[in-house]
């Protein structure tokens, strides 16, 4: 277990480094803060579930599409994309790797996304399909806390419990911020937990940067209900000048800032 945690810590660090590398290489502003907040979440999902590009497999849907830098990084770290040159196409003219995912099943990108509040319904459809086919694999969807303002999230939440989708897991990346600033108090970490409980889900909240906590949260699944992991995170986690600084929701790394950010993640 301890060895595994150490491995996943290293993977999280590599994901963060890759996020910064890709972002700096693009020369363009990109969604760094909300990608950094997901590093441990992605490390745990991609290591503890059987996510592959061929059947049978567990499937990962990034509903908070603007977190694509995080997804692209984990796909590289987990060798879905082998060549660094490819990920460095991020936000280059004409590239398929842009601010939001474009579906490409051959490298493990399951959906096109970018319009918030849509990933969970799709995940529910997949989870129902798996049940119908007696496929015991799981569906994992990551949502943002700001994303949970979208009404369609809650429509999907109801369908998930009504169909007893115990093969469906979501992680709400509660980094406490949205585009315009801090999440208001009705959608904060505590309230988020109550809301998913109220919708009949099996809910486990945890520190979204603590690997052990995350692994345990996934273990406490239910036999009858879908599981929501409410993960408290820090937007911009790991880079001192980005943490809880919403200027880095979408920002550009200069050479100096890039070097400083690398120093910062190496310290933490």
């Amino acid at each position: 277990m301890l060895k595994n945690i150490d491995k996943l810590k290293k993977l999280s660090h590599k994901i963060r480094k890759t996020i910064l590398d890709i972002s700096y290489n693009s020369g363009e502003p990109s969604h760094i803060g909300g990608a950094l907040s997901m590093a441990e979440i992605l490390a745990v999902i991609y290591s503890n579930f059987n996510i592959k590009i061929s059947k049978p497999f567990d499937r990962f849907i990034l509903s908070k599409g603007h977190g694509f830098l995080g997804l692209l990084s984990v796909l590289y770290c987990k060798k879905f994309i082998k060549n660094k040159k490819e990920i460095f196409q991020f936000q280059k003219n004409g590239s398929e790797f842009i601010a939001h995912p474009i579906m490409n099943k051959s490298i493990g990108i399951e959906t096109s996304n970018g319009s918030l509040g849509q990933g969970l319904s799709f995940g529910v459809g997949l989870a129902i399909s798996y049940k119908k086919k007696n496929n015991n694999n799981s569906i994992i969807v990551v949502l943002g806390d700001g994303e949970c303002y979208e009404g369609s999230v809650w429509e999907a939440a109801i369908t998930a419990t009504e169909n007893n989708l115990n093969n469906l897991f979501i992680v709400v990346d509660c980094n406490g911020h949205q585009n315009d600033g801090a999440i208001n108090k009705m959608m904060n970490f505590k309230e988020m937990k109550k809301k998913w409980l109220g919708f009949g889900w099996n809910v486990n909240s945890c520190d979204g940067h603590n690997i052990y906590d995350l692994i345990e949260a996934f273990k406490k699944s239910s036999k009858t209900k879908p599981t929501a992991i409410i993960a408290k995170t820090i937007k911009g986690k790991g880079v001192n000048f980005m943490e809880n600084n919403n200027d880095w929701h979408h920002g550009r790394l200069t050479k100096n800032l890039y070097l400083e950010s690398l120093k910062s993640i190496n310290k933490s």
Binding site: M103, L120, S121, F122, G125, S129, G151, A156, T159
Partner: protein
């Protein structure tokens, strides 16, 4: 799907919504991969019996159309043949962006069945009418838009989508039980192709959906007055059968008849074709106005908007006499 004349007569009495449910039963018997979903409008889609006979192939997601489209896309991605139903505006407008992302952008093979489009919801009013749905749906890349004229054509369209890989679709149901049939006997339907209903020389009428039944009666009346009309069923609003361009060139007077506003429907499509192909023919549009009108029975509304056969006949005579 082939049918007998006696079937067409019976189906007319059932109406398009009840027949949709019946056709789904026939398809489910042959295709175990069929899944039918509704956002709490199963009964209104004639699916009451379907639910009992094929409970594992039916899902109600409750009153949540946006969610309905997403769930359907997930099922389609796993290889199910998916048909989903709701009223026309609740699919085409409330779930419009979900349709754009899941069916348009990702090309998930879901068939949207828009119930009660046009004016057929009668006293339920403008909130339930499908006045603008074609205009919206046809702008989404990769989405087919198909508008069957009567129950037998509905059966052929559903069969075609169920047993072929046509890509995602918006299937628009108009008319009510008792609405005039377009087809009395079996005919050949081909995806994306127009169907000639009547041959004539003076005027070209292009139409689709339930009002074609009215147009056909008009054409018979006009025949007696020695006005010879070419009547064409444009069952596919997207893709458009480009053989229509030859007709647009041949006829100097063209009339589009549709149960849709004048914005973005068949008249707009044909205007685009005329301009792009530099064709000099005159185009006349018989359609719904760009406003919210009164409510009433379907027959009342067709007369109010001059889409009944008598009003159509009068308008065509006027157009015929115009120099």
């Amino acid at each position: 799907m082939n049918f007998k004349s006696i079937d067409a007569k019976q189906w007319l009495r059932m109406g398009p919504r009840a027949m949709f449910g019946q056709f789904m039963i026939n398809i489910a018997k042959k295709n175990k991969k069929l899944m039918v979903l509704s956002a709490d409008l199963g009964r209104s889609s004639g699916l009451a019996r379907f639910k009992i006979e094929f409970p594992k192939q039916y899902i109600s997601v409750g009153i949540s159309e946006q969610n309905l489209v997403g769930v359907a896309a997930g099922l389609a991605d796993e290889g199910f043949k998916v048909f989903i139903t709701s009223f026309a505006p609740f699919l085409s407008m409330r779930a419009s962006e979900q349709i754009r992302m899941n069916l348009g952008y990702m090309k998930h093979n879901v068939n949207l069945v828009a119930l009660g489009s046009g004016l057929s919801m009668g006293f339920l009013g403008n909130s339930h009418f499908g006045l603008e749905d074609i205009a919206i749906m046809r702008t989404i890349p990769n989405l087919n838009v198909t508008c069957p004229a009567d129950c037998s054509e509905l059966g052929k369209v559903l069969d075609d989508y169920a047993f072929n890989d046509r890509g995602p679709s918006y299937i628009r149901l108009t008319g009510i039980p008792g609405s005039k049939n377009l087809y009395d006997k079996n005919y050949s339907y081909k995806f994306g192709k127009n169907i000639t209903i009547n041959k004539g020389n003076d005027i070209l009428i292009l139409s689709y959906g339930s009002v074609l039944g009215q147009a056909r009666i008009s054409v018979e009346a006009l025949k007696k007055m020695n006005i010879s009309v070419q009547l064409v069923n444009v069952v596919s609003l997207k893709p458009i059968d480009d053989s229509v361009i030859t007709l647009l060139k041949k006829y100097k007077k063209i009339v589009t008849i549709e149960e849709h506003t004048s914005v973005g429907g068949l008249s707009t499509i044909m205007s685009e074709k005329l301009i792009k192909n530099q064709i000099n023919s005159k185009l006349f549009s018989i359609s719904l106005p760009d406003k919210f009108g009164p409510t009433g029975t379907y027959d009342y509304l067709l007369k109010y908007h001059a889409l009944d056969s008598d009003s159509i006949t009068k308008k065509i005579i006027k157009i015929f006499k115009k120099k």
